[in-house]
């Protein structure tokens, strides 16, 4: 009887293990829709920059883009800004373009003032509902997408990561070579 019990127990463990293995999906706990997962094409957008120029994501084809959703009232966003300024200085020559999409609902002058105060040397765009929706709703800030030269999402990061992680993602993104348009 004891032997049978052991065999029975082993069968349960082995089959349960196999079933759990089949069920396992390494989702990473992210809430972003699958369309925005790494490997997918970043959604197109058309927004205005601080000078009133129209900027489309497709205009940046050939550049590695860091698309950072932020707001002036967001302390972790503010913490990241000097790091993005440094990344733009250091990797701009290698084709990096940092793009900050301001999700402020306040007077655009506040964003202009903030950008000057923090010496933001990269493209700042005024966000809207359409871009937020296209990028998963942006329920919290900061949210950053790393987009390669071909417009493909390399990584997406929610919240404020350490500077080293930002730099690692920048290096990964600029390392992807431009594919010739067929």
């Amino acid at each position: 009887m004891r032997r049978n019990l052991i065999v029975f127990g082993l069968m349960v463990v082995v089959v349960a293990g196999l079933l759990m293995l089949l069920r396992y999906h390494p989702a990473g706990g992210s809430t972003a829709p699958p369309a925005l997962a790494p490997g997918k094409t970043a959604p197109e957008f058309t927004l205005q920059d601080l000078q009133g120029n129209t900027v489309r994501l497709s205009d940046l084809r050939g550049k590695a883009v860091v698309l950072n959703f932020w707001a002036t009232w967001c302390p972790p966003c503010k913490e990241e800004i000097p790091w993005f300024v440094e990344m733009q200085k250091e990797y701009g020559a290698q084709g990096l373009q940092v793009v900050g999409v301001s999700m402020d609902a306040t007077d655009p002058k506040d964003v202009l003032k903030f950008a000057a105060q923090y010496s933001m040397n990269y493209t700042i765009l005024f966000g809207d509902d359409a871009v937020a929706e296209a990028y998963g709703g942006i329920p919290y800030l900061p949210t950053t997408f790393y987009i390669d030269r071909n417009g493909v999402i390399v990584e997406r990061v929610f919240g404020e990561p350490p500077r080293a992680e930002i730099e690692r993602n920048v290096q990964r993104t600029i390392a992807v070579q431009d594919k010739p348009v067929s």
Binding site: F8, V12, L19, R23, P75, P76, F114, L141, G159
Partner: protein
């Protein structure tokens, strides 16, 4: 066994007694299997294995709260009793606010200019005035995401008070006052867009001599 979670939700949890019962059932089944055929034994083992591999409690056992509460900050205002105020007199208004666990909001006087303060806005009808809105002092805290900045924040339960005044010519009777609490919340890693929680309460304007009855 159902247990209440701190945020008001209820969750199924396996307690000691349920655990003992389950063990007893499994043991009885295994003993019975000893007398049956190997195929039946294998089928039962497979069934139990499937049961074991079903989604874990977070996915199936956790119930949704009664009020739809999305993941994210929720600032709630406790119901406010009717405030009775005499014409030409004043009464105290107390708003009891509560923010769900894991989040904080900026205080009414944030430590940095760029932060959005928590603000109560009330719109009384003519003849009623809400004055001297008093906010608590924020708790000064340091967060990893704010670098060297120390932030003045509220979390958990906090109270805002004000004075309700009725003019001498205010209309007698009950009036509803509508308002909102505007706030911008963060957790330890990220921030959420500004939100507002609507609120309302009734003010009953009475003649001066009947205010203390």
């Amino acid at each position: 066994m159902r247990r209440a979670l701190p945020d008001g939700r209820r969750k199924w949890q396996i307690g000691e007694s349920e655990n003992r019962t389950m063990k007893r059932v499994i043991l009885m089944m295994a003993v019975k299997m000893n007398r049956s055929r190997p195929i039946a034994q294998a089928l039962l083992a497979l069934g139990m294995a499937i049961a074991c591999s079903l989604p874990v409690p977070a996915q199936i056992l956790e119930e949704k709260p009664l009020l739809a509460q999305k993941r994210g900050p929720q600032l709630t205002v406790e119901p406010i009793d009717t405030i009775t105020v005499a014409r030409g007199g004043k009464a105290r208004l107390t708003l009891q606010l509560e923010l769900n666990r894991g989040f904080h909001v900026n205080s009414h006087q944030p430590s940095e200019d760029y932060l959005l303060p928590t603000t109560v806005r009330l719109s009384p009808q003519e003849g009623i005035m809400i004055v001297k809105i008093a906010y608590p002092q924020g708790e000064v805290m340091k967060f990893r995401f704010a670098g060297s900045d120390h932030l003045s924040v509220y979390s958990g339960r906090f109270r805002v008070t004000a004075e309700v005044r009725a003019r001498r010519d205010a209309a007698l009777g009950r009036q509803r006052v509508h308002g909102e609490v505007r706030y911008q919340a963060c957790d330890d890693h990220q921030c959420f867009p500004p939100k507002s929680t609507p609120l309302h309460f009734d003010v009953r304007v009475v003649r001066p001599q009947s205010a203390h009855r």
